[in-house]
């Protein structure tokens, strides 16, 4: 086997010392030369196992081959046939447990860097789209030629134009939540010719992509671009609308304003530990901490009004992506020591491998097999420490992972002044509990009846984290896609 195949191309990154002090993107992306070199590693095997690892079944070997041939725009268009948000997925998908984990090459060597290639193609195409847009800005003719409200260059760059027929164009669909599930569903429906209105409770779009995942991992300009694309398809987006409070879902349907709806409200309810001291100043849920920093841009205080306080010694409880993001954000805000406190071992950490590596490179310490039991006050209502207990792994539990059990008498005190709780999120009940007849499971997630996400209310679909519990961007997108299909079939059969 030639060296060329053996050595996987590493994506250039900002150095750990540099990036600890800024919020710019950490991974810098491949240049065309690196991308081609990596794409050429793909042996184009007949069995294509990678595609079965992709929740939206992107034609991976095909787009990789196009990159190898230098046809980057075509590669991007190929991905877009199945995945409408490739610039985002290329950055945040857990490829090591999806496509890349099944790569044939990976059995003997390192798998093809599929995520990096996806990101390359998407970034290439969007850079080209911006150039084209600028070139024909103000060119009225090109608008008219298009015969619709979108600019020609916009449609070209995406390689698709809205199709339309009467059943679809007569129907209006409400999509609730502008996270990846909602955006994907809205785009697919708009492309089928439906009129789509999106509703978002916050003042800005994107869901977790905006308020949760930090700038240094997913630049907000990319989220903006994807939202703009969805808007360019004719989708209207209404922010500041909390469905369940500002509007009632059943009324929206019963009034005839909307023929169908898709609920994609995410996992917007932070879990706490339920231990003493959790309401002390200096304890944040990861949601609060990240929302302050990302959505409200507290890292730019006082240019932006929302403050965030960070101490010098931070403990982040949990070991998922949310925990890694919180830990790395803490460093960038100026914390001196940041520890991840996790009750299981390294093998069970749910975060993407790349983020764990990035965090460690930046100086985040992993305190494994330890569980907080109480947060200690300085006497004036502020955190001055956290008592933890050592854990060991016992028998496997329902999740198949070995259950952590406390080691008696092993309590110790961690010297910290800030605690960020990142132990998961559940379904936010604002909409679900106020929508009569909507069936929920025990945990409060919406019950769906088929793979498209049909709910107990006719004409209402649901998908993404509100159905599955906190999961991934790509699985939320997959749910959005399937719901668009379900809604389309349902409307066609009725109207």
């Amino acid at each position: 086997m030639s060296r060329k195949i053996v050595d996987r191309t590493e994506m250039p990154k900002q150095s750990p010392e540099a990036r600890r002090t800024n919020f710019s993107e950490v991974a810098l992306g491949l240049d065309p030369e690196l991308a081609r070199r990596e794409a050429e590693r793909c042996i184009q095997c007949k069995t294509r196992p990678c595609t079965t690892g992709c929740p939206v079944e992107v034609d991976i070997p095909e787009f990789v081959a196009l990159i190898a041939e230098g046809k980057y725009d075509e590669a991007a268009a190929k991905i877009k046939e199945k995945n409408s948000l490739p610039a985002i997925c290329g950055r945040v998908c857990p490829q090591e447990s999806q496509c890349e984990s099944l790569c044939t090459l990976g059995r003997k060597y390192e798998p093809v860097a599929i995520g990096a290639l996806e990101r390359f193609a998407a970034d290439w195409a969007s850079k080209r789209a911006v150039e084209k847009r600028e070139a024909c800005a103000g060119d009225v003719d090109s608008d008219l030629q298009c015969g619709c409200e979108q600019k020609v260059c916009e449609l070209d760059s995406r390689g698709c134009a809205p199709t339309s027929d009467s059943a679809a164009s007569a129907a209006r669909v409400a999509v609730i939540g502008t996270g990846p599930a909602g955006l994907t569903c809205a785009a697919d429906l708009a492309l089928k010719g439906y009129k789509v209105d999106m509703f978002e409770s916050l003042h800005d779009t994107g869901g977790v992509l905006r308020y949760g995942i930090p700038e240094f991992r997913l630049p907000k300009s990319i989220v903006d671009e994807e939202v703009e694309y969805v808007r360019s398809l004719g989708v209207r987006i209404f922010t500041n609308v909390v469905v369940g409070l500002t509007l009632d879902l059943r009324e929206m349907l019963e009034s005839g304003q909307y023929q169908a709806a898709f609920i994609a409200t995410g996992a917007g309810l932070p879990y706490f530990l339920g231990i003493p001291g959790e309401n002390l100043n200096g304890v944040y849920s990861a949601n609060e901490f990240l929302t302050r920093v990302n959505l409200m841009k507290a890292y730019m205080f006082p240019q932006y009004d929302t403050p965030v306080n960070i101490g010098s010694k931070v403990a982040v409880v949990g070991a998922g992506n949310v925990a890694m993001d919180s830990a790395r954000t803490s460093l960038r805000l100026g914390a001196e020591e940041v520890k991840i406190v996790y009750r299981r071992s390294r093998a069970e950490m749910p975060a993407r491998l790349e983020e764990i590596e990035n965090a460690e490179e930046e100086g985040v310490e992993m305190m494994l097999l330890a569980n907080p039991v109480r947060i200690i006050s300085d006497g004036c209502g502020k955190v001055s420490g956290m008592e933890c207990i050592r854990m060991e792994l016992g028998e496997p539990d329902a999740s198949g992972r070995r259950r952590p059990v406390p080691v008696e008498g092993s309590e110790f005190i961690l010297d910290v002044d800030t605690v960020i709780v990142a132990v998961g999120q559940g379904p936010n009940p604002l909409l679900t509990e106020r929508t009569k007849g909507l069936e929920l499971n025990r945990k409060g997630n919406i019950e769906v009846r088929d793979e498209c996400g049909a709910t107990s209310i006719p004409g209402v679909w649901a998908g993404g984290d509100i159905v599955t519990g906190a999961a991934t961007v790509i699985s939320a997108m997959g749910a959005g896609k399937r719901a668009a299909r379900g809604i389309d079939e349902w409307i066609r059969s009725r109207f």
């Binding site: 909390v242 500002t246 932070p270 309401n279 849920s285 929302t291 006082p302 929302t306 004036c380 936010n428």
Partner: protein, 283 residues
């Protein structure tokens, strides 16, 4: 964008706005609040809905200038816009026919108490309002209070009008006079609500307080607004903002309200410097 169609200044640094927000006006009930943002760089600020009009599609907000964001709001005039208004948020007040209700309001707490006394009166309760401020000039919305209450007791810390002392003292006196009271609602500064709850606890009068915890989203998504009620953690934006005053951990609330004080100070000073000195009391 949410247009300001009316503005008046009730007292130095206290402004009342009518804001176009038809969907909020349509669903608003006493006790609800909205989250407001003034500009692209602004914070999300919770404000109680002090009134709503479904015909005109407007809501009434009363804002006291205390920090940078509220000072910035103070500079908005008729025809200007709030960037974002989201709501109606929070649980609505439970309004039941109980007999005699005493509404105790401190400072600008009188604005959010108004929709409640209106609703209590509308369903036939006898409403006694006890409204206090530091001094006579800071007693705002007096006509409205008179209009919707059966009896009003004014209180000022300096004795310039009515009862000389705190509203909790006036309430104690009212109870002492033998007045039968079935329910008390208290809205105002935390320590005032705590003092009222301490008085009514002795007399076993059910008491509802409205908590102004620091919030970010206002929809139960961040947990920033958590308070302890009866030993349990609650999110005041979705479980409240009204809670049983006898069960709230007021000390914790006061402590949590102060968490960002240093930063708030920095923001305010920068804003005042940019604006050329403190003008918050200019009007």
């Amino acid at each position: 964008m949410f247009k300001i169609v009316e503005k008046c200044t009730l007292a130095p640094g206290v402004h009342q706005y009518e804001v176009e927000a038809p969907l909020v006006a349509k669903g608003a009930r006493p006790g609800n609040f909205v989250v407001v943002r003034t500009s692209e760089t602004g914070e999300r600020i919770p404000l109680t809905i002090a009134g709503h009009n479904r015909e005109t599609g407007t809501i009434t907000l009363v804002v006291q200038e205390v920090g940078k964001s509220t000072m910035e709001m103070g500079m908005l005039e008729v025809g200007d816009y709030f960037k974002d208004v989201a709501g109606p948020l929070g649980q609505a007040t439970r309004i039941e026919k109980v007999g005699t209700v005493v509404a105790v309001a401190g400072g600008i707490g009188v604005a959010p108490v108004l929709p409640q006394i209106r609703a209590h009166k509308a369903i036939g309760n006898h409403v006694i309002s006890i409204v206090g401020a530091r001094t006579r000039d800071l007693l705002v919305l007096r006509d409205e209070v008179e209009k919707f209450s059966d009896e009003v007791i004014w209180a000022t810390d300096d004795g310039s009008l009515g009862y000389h002392g705190f509203v909790s003292g006036a309430l104690e006196e009212l109870i002492g006079s033998g007045q039968k009271i079935d329910e008390v609602i208290a809205i105002g500064p935390v320590r005032m609500m705590q003092a009222v709850a301490d008085v009514t606890r002795k007399h076993n009068i059910p008491t509802t307080v409205s908590l102004n915890a620091i919030m970010v989203d206002g929809t139960g998504m961040c947990g920033c607004c958590r308070v302890t009620v009866d030993g349990e953690v609650k999110f005041s934006c979705v479980d409240g903002p009204e809670f049983d005053g006898h069960k709230v951990d007021f000390d914790e609330l006061v402590s949590r309200q102060g968490f960002f004080r240093d930063k708030e100070q920095i923001a305010r000073e920068r804003f005042e410097a940019d604006r050329g000195g403190c003008k918050c009391h200019a009007k």
